[in-house]
Amino acid sequence: MPVLVYTENWDGKFKKLSFELVSYASEIAKMMGTSVTALSIGNVEQNELKKPGSYGASKIIEVKDDRLNHLINSAYSSIISQVAESEGANVIVFSNNFTGKALSPRVSVKLKAGLVSGVTALPSNLDPFTVQKKVFTGKAFANVVIKSDIKILTLSQNSFEIIETENNATIEAFTPEFTDNDFRTEVKDVTKVTGKVLLTDAEIVVSGGRGMKGPENWKPIEELAELLVAATACSRPVSDEGWRPHEEHTGQTGKIIAPNLYIACGISGAIQHLAGVSSSKFIVAINKDNDAPIFEAADYGIIGDVNKVLPEIIEAVKELKAES
């Protein structure tokens, strides 16, 4: 009765969060005295496919079908349920991203398995099966007991360390059964953001608020992001004004992110903004107002004008890079 992990890919490669997920599943499997099976759906290159093994999976199941090149909730959740049944899995883990949120509820109903989303740590107890999750959009944690035989978890991003291990996993193909009902939605067009670090996958995020004063002042934010291999983000008014694209808006009504470093430039730190970024490991705030609430959430702060401070930060990063 292994722990089953849905390992998601992007452009033929596993996402970083898939490895975080396998590491997490491996620790649960250790607690339960069982193994980890990873499930890949769609087109993943052969030498990429074995990678979940390096994070603790002992078996990798591959499902390939031309109809599965885009996410189709019904078909994907049907595959995951079928694999879970054929493997006899009693714990299934997903990432708590768009895909995990789309699939886990359907699998939950198919298998009558209790679902807890946004889990932040390993189970604190196996019997009763108890996990901790974020509630009130990051303002508190809850301990939740799952009462069904099969348990489904979605893991909050960046809440578990990626651990590499030596493990040679076997790869198996699986042929699921479909019905016409599994394909009632159709992807007609795709717009991909390429060549940029994905906001939800980024280790470092450089973000700007209304204090930046206008879209013409974003150059330093973009330059710093490029130097740090970071993603760019913004507060809600900034995307509402159209200064920045909507995908960049973080907070309660935008994206919820948890990078290692979040650099907030000219952002006041309203509670709804913090709800999306407060799980970052470190927060740096640059604001000219020493009373701005962002300083209560930040680890490092500079009271000053972004227009003056940002170029100096860029210089200092360049110097650091030149030294190392």
């Binding site: 509820p105 939950s108 989303s117 009130f136 303002k139 280790e203 309660q252 680890d299 500079i302 650091l320």
Partner: protein, 249 residues
């Protein structure tokens, strides 16, 4: 086309979160209850569509699984412009329990488009919409950021981690929405509030249903250490700290 919107009743987003009874229950003392922000956007978009598609949309219904205490929230949805409301009269236990109740209440009512939010701002279950689609045996389109209707055709935009997709779907279906479907939520007008009093709010009694999870206790996050202030005249120090102390760059 008939539209159903699932409404979750949640504490106002600025509520100070506290727990009582040895941290086993949320302190509802003095809490202001609102329509979950996503559900408010869904309702706003449904009403826009009803007004702009020339009769393509017959009716917009809102539904909540909750006790009598949630009626003001449903009345607010009626005041904003929903045609009628359904309340399934039971305390919501978990997402599985809620989704099952909604599916039982509406499975024979012929809704073509059912909309739920991506999550409730209280327990962040991120589950009811997808579960409901599975109970009803209909397709779901998730992380939807725009909804358009032309005759019987629905076109949706779905956000993915690195971009977006345009999706077509057969009816009926469940749309699980997030930001983008509408920009500013509508607020009730005086006339809307008056009219809401006369609109139907149908109470449906609960059925036998399971909850598969149970919230047993709560914790508040640990207080953060004080922010380390760096002299604005010595920005280099910040980069040093990030490099040698935090070790993040």
């Amino acid at each position: 086309m008939k539209i159903l919107i699932c409404i979750s009743n949640v504490p106002d987003t600025t509520t100070k979160i506290r727990f009582v009874n040895d941290n086993t229950a949320f302190d509802t003392n003095g809490v202001q209850w609102i329509i979950n922000p996503w559900d408010e956007l869904a309702l706003t978009r449904a009403l826009e569509l009803k007004e702009t598609t020339g009769g393509a949309i017959e009716k917009v219904t809102v539904i909540n699984v909750g006790t009598k205490d949630t009626e003001p929230t449903l009345r607010k949805a009626l005041a904003i412009g929903a045609d009628d409301a359904i309340r399934v009269n039971t305390e919501p236990k978990d997402a599985f329990f809620v989704a099952y109740h909604i599916s039982e209440a509406v499975k024979n009512e012929g809704y073509d488009m059912i909309i739920a939010g991506i999550d409730s701002s209280d327990y962040n279950g991120a589950a009811v919409g997808g579960m409901l689609a599975e109970f009803l045996g209909v397709p779901s389109v998730s992380s939807v950021s725009s909804i358009d209707v032309e005759g019987d055709n629905v076109s949706l935009k779905r956000e993915i981690d690195g971009g977006s997709e345009v999706i077509g779907t057969q009816l009926p279906f469940v749309a699980i929405i997030q930001k983008g479907v509408a920009i500013e939520p509508r607020i009730p007008s005086m006339r809307g509030i008056m009219m809401a009093r006369k609109k139907p709010l149908n109470v449906v009694e609960p059925v036998e249903a399971d909850a598969l999870t149970e919230f047993v206790s709560y914790e508040l996050p640990q207080a953060k250490a004080a922010c380390k202030m760096v002299d604005p005249e010595n920005v280099k120090e910040l980069i040093n700290l990030l490099h040698t102390e935090a070790k993040v760059i």
